[in-house]
Assembly symmetry: C2
Homo-oligomer: 645 residues x 2
């Protein structure tokens, strides 16, 4: 038995006993020390870097660690075995999460336009923005010795009189009864109820003093594998009161859903995975929003959750193994009568948790909500909806049919699997042009400061420009020389977008051949999914009239460049539409409109699902798509023409 001491930034060191040959990442998890481990410990991602400050570890050097770094003590935790006492310095992942958490700018024109546009389209499609939650003012008579009706009956009778709902169908839960006598007397019998309807019943959700000015609030959560985005919304005006995003705390149990399910099946794993997202991500995000918008959590009466099937299951603490094992049968597609308290959130005690319905183990509520928000179901045009999340999901169709599929594109669009990758937030390179002669890049950085990393839209631009300038070839290999083209000791090439010395940034920002290769495979997965799905319907890409792109890739996405690299089909550029985080806007629509909830449910029932792995041509299509723009360049005539391929 050896003693391992973890030294953390901004926290007391943690000491734990470990057995010889125990894996250091496992030891850290036992000690509740958070180490970023997207690949869940198989040495693939290189993110679980720690520094051996003292003592011994059995830990070989590998491609993620340079010789200088190895000399300085840097090791991958997942590739290290305990062989003696050791002191390990751990980078502050918690602070990294916190810094990634962000109260979004509610006033940005793009944000406003996306939500305005959705509301406008919903109105045109005939959806009423009328919540079933409403205020009901009550003027009660004060009891006397001749009128000793108890308090709850006094309120219920008044609701009966005001609404016509029969007494026995009016429900007052304990959470309202609990403080009722006090509220009635403090308010001197001038109160307002928050009520909702459920079939022929009325639920009294709250009884508040008349002068209380709190709005009726709803919470929309886009629960992504990599990141979360939340909105607090005034359910009566539709106004967005607060908006925030953050990383998914489950990431240290694996970057992808399969590794997380495997982790959740270990002893106590369901609880661990649930806690990681609820306690480390959702609750801190909510607290930030409560503070920024001065919101009382008890006034939140409903939550809409849009997430993929696995994320939904892990959030609810469900047994998720059947999601990944044949015949791929999850616990649910649709839920009813689930409450936010069931996942440990403290809002109004009877706040419902509305889960956007899943339609399969690999197409979840984020896509049904997103497909709603894309409005492709409301038009005769043949439209393709692409959600670039941690995986890629596609929906194709129009107002007569819809088909969906999912492809393993990986997290590259959100900056995962990319050495300098990051989400589309301050410091991210979101756009880039490169001078063909000088090979000098011109960068657009979110927030305008020094570049810190590259988000999805930036990577598309960079690869397209490198290809356009002949700096990389169709396979993504660097084929020109210059001051920005470097090769390491293993021969791996990289292109420096910003030397630290140029920008005063935190470090050099580069893209290397492994990054490019990862991204080409990701875009190849999207395009091959597109062609395979169309083929299954007897179509080819020329049938596509509109493309709606959604996801965390960022509003800066350059559609021309995305076509140039062969990610999207080669149609007229003004038929591309970036619709933002459609999982979030879909959840927002479901919060505001009962009709939208019903429509999403209908979409989930009517949409067919194509399992790509059952399509024999998918793998061939994928291999052919892992090239710039494609091994069959004739599929991209505009690119062929521009670049003379």
């Amino acid at each position: 038995m050896f003693t391992i001491t973890f030294v953390l930034e901004g926290a007391a060191p943690v000491t734990i006993d470990a057995n010889a040959n125990e894996n250091l990442l496992d030891v850290a998890r036992k000690a509740n020390v958070a180490i970023d481990a997207p690949c869940s410990g198989n040495g693939a991602c290189g993110k679980c870097r720690v520094r051996l400050a003292e003592g011994y570890l059995d830990s070989p050097q590998n491609r993620h660690i340079t010789s200088e770094e190895y000399e300085a003590g840097w090791r991958l935790a997942c590739c290290s075995k305990v062989v003696g006492d050791a002191t390990i310095e751990v980078p502050d992942i918690a602070s990294a999460y916190r810094s990634r958490m962000k109260i979004a700018d509610l006033d940005s024109p793009e944000e406003i336009a996306i939500f305005d546009n959705l509301r406008q389209q919903m109105l045109e499609a005939g959806f009423a923005f009328q919540s079933d939650l409403s205020f009901l003012p009550l003027e009660l008579s004060e009891p006397t010795l001749d009128d000793t009706m108890p308090d709850n009956e006094r309120v219920i009778r008044a609701v009966e009189k005001a609404t016509g709902c029969p007494y026995e169908n009016i429900i007052m839960p304990y959470s309202v009864l609990r403080d009722l006598s006090w509220v009635l007397r403090e308010s001197e019998w001038h109160v307002k109820c928050v009520i909702s309807r459920d079939g022929d019943r009325i639920h009294i959700r709250d009884v508040l003093p008349s002068e209380n000015t709190d709005p009726i609030v709803g919470f929309a959560l886009d629960l992504g594998t990599t990141s979360l985005a939340g909105l607090l919304v005034d359910l009566q005006s539709g106004k967005i009161l607060a908006k925030a995003s953050c990383g998914n705390g489950q990431i240290r149990y694996g970057a992808d859903v399969i590794n997380r399910i495997i982790e959740s099946e270990k002893r106590g794993g369901r609880r661990r995975l649930q806690d990681a997202v609820v306690k480390e991500s959702i609750i801190p995000m909510l607290v930030q929003m409560y503070q920024s918008a001065n919101i009382n959590p008890r006034r939140i009466y409903r939550m809409v959750l849009a997430g993929n099937t696995t994320m939904n299951h892990l959030l609810l603490g469900l047994y998720s193994d059947p999601v990944r094992m044949e015949p791929f049968v999850p616990s649910f597609f649709r839920t009813n009568y689930i409450y936010v308290r069931d996942i440990g959130l403290k809002m109004n005690p009877l706040a419902e948790l509305v889960v956007a319905p899943n339609i399969g183990s690999y197409v979840g509520g984020d896509i049904t909500a997103g497909a709603f928000a894309s409005m492709i179901w409301n038009s005769p045009e043949m439209s393709l909806f692409i959600d670039l999340g941690t995986n890629g999901e596609l929906v194709f169709g129009n107002n007569e049919f819809l088909m969906s599929c999912a492809c393993s594109a990986g997290p590259a669009f959100e900056g995962g699997d990319i050495s300098c990758g990051m989400r589309a937030t301050d410091g991210a390179i979101e756009a880039c042009t490169i001078d063909k002669e000088t090979m000098e890049p011109t960068l657009t950085v979110i927030g305008g400061g020094a570049p810190v990393g590259i988000c999805g839209s930036g990577i598309i631009d960079i690869i397209a420009e490198l290809f356009r300038c002949g700096i990389i070839n169709g396979k993504g290999k660097l084929v020109r020389e210059g001051k920005r083209v470097l090769h390491d000791e293993h021969g791996m090439g990289s292109f420096v977008l910003a030397f630290q010395s140029e920008t005063g940034g935190a470090k050099d920002v580069v893209i290397n051949e492994v990054d490019i290769d990862n991204f080409i495979r990701a875009k190849g997965a999207i395009f091959s999914a597109t062609t395979t799905m169309l083929h299954s319907l007897g179509f080819d890409p020329s049938v596509i009239e509109r493309v709606y792109v959604a996801g965390g890739i960022g509003s800066g996405i350059n559609m021309k460049n995305a076509v140039t690299i062969g990610m999207f089909p080669d149609i007229s550029l003004d038929h591309f539409h970036y619709i933002g985080n459609s999982s979030q806007t879909g959840a927002y629509a479901m919060l505001l409109s009962q009709g939208a909830r019903e429509k999403v449910d209908e979409l989930s029932r009517s949409m067919t699902y194509l399992e790509l792995s059952n399509e024999p041509q998918y793998m061939d299509n994928f291999v052919a798509s892992c090239f710039l723009p494609h091994t069959d360049a004739s599929l991209f005539p505009s690119v062929q023409e521009e670049l003379g391929l």
Copy 2:
């Protein structure tokens, strides 16, 4: 600031800082040290005895402490002020509570007879013993690649098919969804549901493996001011699975409801009072029952609570001041959609809490449930139902009308306010005769061992016999001399029922003139309530055809003696019926029969309530009744004749 150390039996000492002149009982409460204080600290009851082992207290001697005891360090905590550091020995009240907690003998003939009799009468009155909770076996088809219906839908579809209830009206809560996938696979798709109906909806309460043999269990709780009695019942067979009783842990905040309401209005008081009964009484009682009958708490799907209005409010943690303040308007008479989890009990997560309805601030669910169990509403005979709890409540009427009232009889019938009083449990003198010549008593002790104290039925016998033998006069004063008649230094007389030396008991068991006076006032309250209520209806006691006596006074109650002391009206003795703890049997009936629940609700709505304090003649009646048997002996002709009054 001084340091007070409380020395407890079987627990570590507790040390707390206290200010000069702080009350010792308050200091103990702050330190979470339980001291029995039925009168809530006004020096009246003498129960909060502690021993000053070291240091100083400002604490005068008083009538509850003899000179020898004072010398030995005994003090009343409520009458002691901090004046320096002190070490205080505290009698082990927790262990006293535990020893008072009792798993009742389910096989005693009296017990069996009471429940059998109730079931028989209910059947004759047309009540079906059919719970709305039932098992539904389901044989599910195992999913395949061609049948990937999610687990929840698979179950709901099967319930739809088996019951005919439409899919959308079948509710599966989170508590079932949570482990559903696991249960289905572990049971290899052979399961049974526990379902219940609510209007046109079906709730799936549980999904269990087919081979699970747990019964569907209900919990009936009689929540008394002084003591609690609980039953666990198989809701399908009606079989009583476990039975237990214990003291109400709130007693240290006051013996009566008013003191407890006052305490509950202090900062944190609602939570304190709720915790005292839930955590110190109900949960330990349940745990004992779970163990004795091998019951899984998750299989308890419903709880029926029968308690007085204040007890109901304090259990629910409600603001109770309006119950005691004019115009006496409580939070509720009836509740709906309240769950056991709302009061912090962990049973099945959706187990309902059915509260027997109150009909006023001073006539609660114990009386509506009890009046149901008395069946007086089902007969043309003019009947009087008397519940001798901590207070006395009466219902008079027949199948055409019912009137109720409450009188402040105090806790004497349950052994409260009596120096050697105790509940009707092992060691209690439950009956007594006294030889007129020798003045020697013959005692009947519950359990057959040495006498420890006197329960209600024993006190009635003792006072009747003392009166019959001329040992006490009509005012309850000792008027004969003998070896068993003692007088203390203040001149207060007492009669020794059992010298410790005779019986080998723990101490002398005596009754003194204060006890007798307390009891005469209690019986006087009952009789004057009877005559006042009858008078308000234009009747006198001769109209009474049947008397049903209920309460913790014990099945050994001697009706002749109760008439002799002027407690009950002087009617033919075979028209008296002891019906046990009718609050508990009523709750039992409500658990087993939806019809009984509806009937109790109907009784609560139709029963009129007489506020005795508004009746001008009540006080005169009370004063006249505080005499043996009554200042107007002609009201008791049989006693007049027997004793030659």
